[in-house]
Symmetry: C2
Amino acid sequence: MQQTTEVESNEICDVDSFIADMPCGALDEYRKKASFNWKLMKVALEGEAMIRFKNKVWQTLEADPLFARHVSEELSRDEYRKLSLMRLKRLMEYDFLPDDEFLENPLLLLILYTAIGQYDWSLAIKKFLAYEFFTLSLRATGSTRHMSVMDELMDFNALGCIALTEMAHGSNTKGIKTTATFDSKTNEFILNTPSLEAAKVWSGNLGQTATHAVVFAQFYAEDGKCHGLNVFLVPVRDPKTLIPYPSITVGDMGPKIGLNGLDNGFLMFHNYRIHKDYIMNRIGEIDGDGKFVNQLEDPKKRMGITMGTLSMGRVGIIGMSVSNMKKALTVAIRYSATRRQFGPQGKEELPVIEYQMQQWRLLPYLAACYLLDNFSLSFHRDFINFEISVLFGNQNLELSEQGQEIHALSSAGKAYAGWLARDAIQECREACGGHGYLKAAGLGDLRNDHDANNTYEGDNNVLQQQTSNYLMRIWQRKVEEGKPFASQLGTVDFLDQMDEHLQHSLYMESRNECQSLDFVLDSYKFLISFLMRETAIKLKSELESGKDLFTARSESQVYFARTLSMAYVEYVMIQRWSNFLRTEISDESLMTVLKRLGVLYGLWSLEKHMSLLYQSGYCRGPQPFSFIKQSILQLCRELKDDCVVLVDVIATPDFILNSALGKADGNIYANIFESIAQSQGATKRPDWWQEFAVHKPNIASLKPKL
Amino acid sequence: MQQTTEVESNEICDVDSFIADMPCGALDEYRKKASFNWKLMKVALEGEAMIRFKNKVWQTLEADPLFARHVSEELSRDEYRKLSLMRLKRLMEYDFLPDDEFLENPLLLLILYTAIGQYDWSLAIKKFLAYEFFTLSLRATGSTRHMSVMDELMDFNALGCIALTEMAHGSNTKGIKTTATFDSKTNEFILNTPSLEAAKVWSGNLGQTATHAVVFAQFYAEDGKCHGLNVFLVPVRDPKTLIPYPSITVGDMGPKIGLNGLDNGFLMFHNYRIHKDYIMNRIGEIDGDGKFVNQLEDPKKRMGITMGTLSMGRVGIIGMSVSNMKKALTVAIRYSATRRQFGPQGKEELPVIEYQMQQWRLLPYLAACYLLDNFSLSFHRDFINFEISVLFGNQNLELSEQGQEIHALSSAGKAYAGWLARDAIQECREACGGHGYLKAAGLGDLRNDHDANNTYEGDNNVLQQQTSNYLMRIWQRKVEEGKPFASQLGTVDFLDQMDEHLQHSLYMESRNECQSLDFVLDSYKFLISFLMRETAIKLKSELESGKDLFTARSESQVYFARTLSMAYVEYVMIQRWSNFLRTEISDESLMTVLKRLGVLYGLWSLEKHMSLLYQSGYCRGPQPFSFIKQSILQLCRELKDDCVVLVDVIATPDFILNSALGKADGNIYANIFESIAQSQGATKRPDWWQEFAVHKPNIASLKPKL
């Protein structure tokens, strides 16, 4: 521990008023070894307001028996669903973030959903879809005549959902087949599901509880002409009984891999009639003569802005991924610091985190978690600023370009974060060995809930292509129009010195030379420049060989555009970390460890591109790869004594973490045994004991002869 | 389809008698495009006997209502447990593999467990532990006086389990703390669990159903002297009531991530007394004077042989991993060949398998599955031959060395196979997009069941070290004693030309040059030679810096010994594939596609080591990496039209596959909808509807002030 000066001591005292001490126990040994004060680190990363807000939410939930749970709990899907609805109601009663406080600090909305999500993602998503996403859709596509539903929502007399995806069309929304045909005789739309393939599916809240759905359908005029995708507000269930209306088949998607507290649903229309006012008239409208009027003025101009706004879900998933990584790493690192296994002959067994292999498995993910967290928060701030401009500012070209950049960064960013968290959770699960297979470890449910993040809100592989398309567009603009690489968020500005970057190559005399963020950033500048050029060349050659743009892009994904998208996100994460350290961190003990995390993440990520760096000629000979590998292991070793405390900084309270292996007291075996003792029928003879003791098999009586 | 000659036509006719046609449907298009006859391929890979045997098992289960199930079924843990026990009884009645048939073809035991496991791993493992593993332990460590339990087992009056692992000691079995103290006054052992850390845990069948446990404990004589780990046969529950005996706390581990049909249990002894005859007297015995006698003659001599025998579990897990890959790939590839999404402008949407990205995500795993299957079968044969020698042959030095080689190959092999299947399942899950998240897709349960394979029977990371220790031992023997690299199974013989291999470097003029198994094998010979040398140098330098052997080995794992172990397994897989093709395949249409699979797997695996091949100087310049990547994509493209049929070859019947997305008819949307319709409460209003419709929240009534 660093010497505490008088000033620091005062700070710590303040900090103690909103950050509780960790309990004493088996982790004390590592906590005492830490090179920095974890509470000051926590404040530096999150700020007091955010920490106090999360405390409020979590302490309130923990005090409420409706939110009580146990690590070995086994709920049926139906019990889980009921609990989720009851908890949703209770969250409305708590009203953690009233409008005025939200307007003062919009970032708290993310923090709220993260805090609830770290408790239970089913509940957080159910609330988000019903309140934020549904109301956003109403505001974005409807008008005053639809706003009465808002009041109903707030009084819990309505519950909303969005029905876009169909059985046969997820990513490709242009393929939507549900139809809405206008009938001027009755002034109604007739909604129809022409085939099983056109059934609306996966809509969250639609399964059992939604009363209203925002439905996307192809609008057909009476003359049979299709006017394209339009949006309708459709009542689906009677709010007084929750019974679906006739001429609709609506129901639940059944059991899923995870998120089973959320009722995803399907919906089929059998010539179901709704009044003409239910069309969301910011997009299309029926005029007095019963004619369709397209309300979108110059839709192409608005595209960039809309793309930015639609990034909300993806920006959110980046935050979800960070939250999941934090929980997984808390479990695995605390467990690894207390679990002892093997050791040098004749000596005490070592905590498994003392092994190079265990450090190398876990600490790069810990570093990645810190950088992704910073990226997620700063990107959320960008997104909020963008949305404020959309609401209050000029909808000009800059804003449209910013929207495209946000779309690009959120697309590959979501894919990257989703995969990173997936891999981190899996590594953490395995790092906990046999005991990690207990449900009570918490890692299985975390993995199963997280899993959806990689395929919803855009399949990751499709999303990556959105990012590379953006990068290729600005490349082309540079080549054809001479427009400099410059963007609103500055994520691509470095490409303006592309030629310079491409002339660099690596020469190192010692491994120390690669242990800096600047080294990592320089390498990424080369790498991305190289991938830009290679992807552009590949794309061009595919086009020149006669392929259409769609096919040419598809054939340039693997090894080109895909890698480019990923490297771009990694670069932005490191760039923002570097900025953050420069502008926000002054304490030297914090700076030392935060830099280590940055360099460890950077080198570990760069290592994955090493063969490309050799292929491109950036690296030559044995040294570069060797130095980078040695540095990764060295940084792991240097971070090892700090890792328990680095986890304390990002950990949730035990109640939220809900893991017998990851509790803050590190008392792993007693906690595991407690989890077993509380599980259903732990020591009781099963009710079906006679199946063994009385009803004996007639051995080989049924021997099959085939 | 190839021209069918007269001879082939007869063959096909025969084959039709034990391989059923695939149903017509959406997959016809690809099935018609196939370049080979899939039934002939199936026979070439598995042989008629194996196919007929699996048919018998699967058709019997499908016809029995006790084994009926549905893809959307949701069982409570208790219901699942009860079903597992009842099904276990029924399997005894079927007696699929009587002793005489087993002796005639011991490989069928693997096939039996694989066939049951592809139906349900919980059931297969429950049966395996109760009958194979428990009886093997009795035979290996006990004597005639323990054999009466065998009869009880066969009459279902006893059910067995093995209790080795303790709460604080899994991999490091030397750390076992359970004690057995002899009391000469009563001629009894007093079993005791000195602390929570010494509780036996994870023992399969112990949770609710076992009557007898094979318990590993430290034996203490009356004078307090410890005679090391001994084995005891311990009655734990009354077979007439299933009530545990007094002075024992025994119970269930509670819910797990997967395998919840299996009752893993814990066990604590409170000075529990058993008669002295319960010691397994092949290891230790109490003589007439009440003195302990060590029965192991020259234990070191036997070590290699024992190591070989103990590989059984790991060899089995390699087979389990292949089986899981087959199921996952069947689902994902059939789905990808029928799911259409996007397409060139103005054209019909394409099946997603037409996209380069989807091919690249799935087809290398398909190739890996074929090679791993071949490796698994051939390694099982080696293992059976070894066990026969142990039982009937001389227990000589050769056998001991073979045991060590089997131990080494099964250790890294199990780790490799477990991880490969893990990654394949995950890729398949994500390749099925949103619908892959349905429980009915079958991929979530597959992942959750498979997950245990990476941490039980030895944690994968610990196991890898076993393999590298073996390789370093034979390296040292070569360097110090001049003994050639030669082994019973021939997996390391190529190392005898190590110096030659190390002089090679890569030079290619076109990508065609890398598209052969010989190219791949040569590259691996270099790679492994290089890794052997580097690991030995690293280990030496760690030792010379003053570290003990344990620490030096630990510090040589990452980037050295670990990579070596993995590359060794990959090499053996490719080597055995190459041998198999040369000796077993004559049909040219089969040969073409099987070679493609081999080269695709080889290059895809080699690609992961590319940076090392550059670092080592084996590769230089842009060509090698570029040619390898181009070849991977080319091979994916060439295999694309065959992939549906390649899956038909390895697929289980629909009943066993149990996936709405992977059925043989490819009718994905109707099948998905059927799975939804059969799920609990699909369209019915929930019983707790009043929680929404009647009991309204009092909005913001509980607003917290913190």
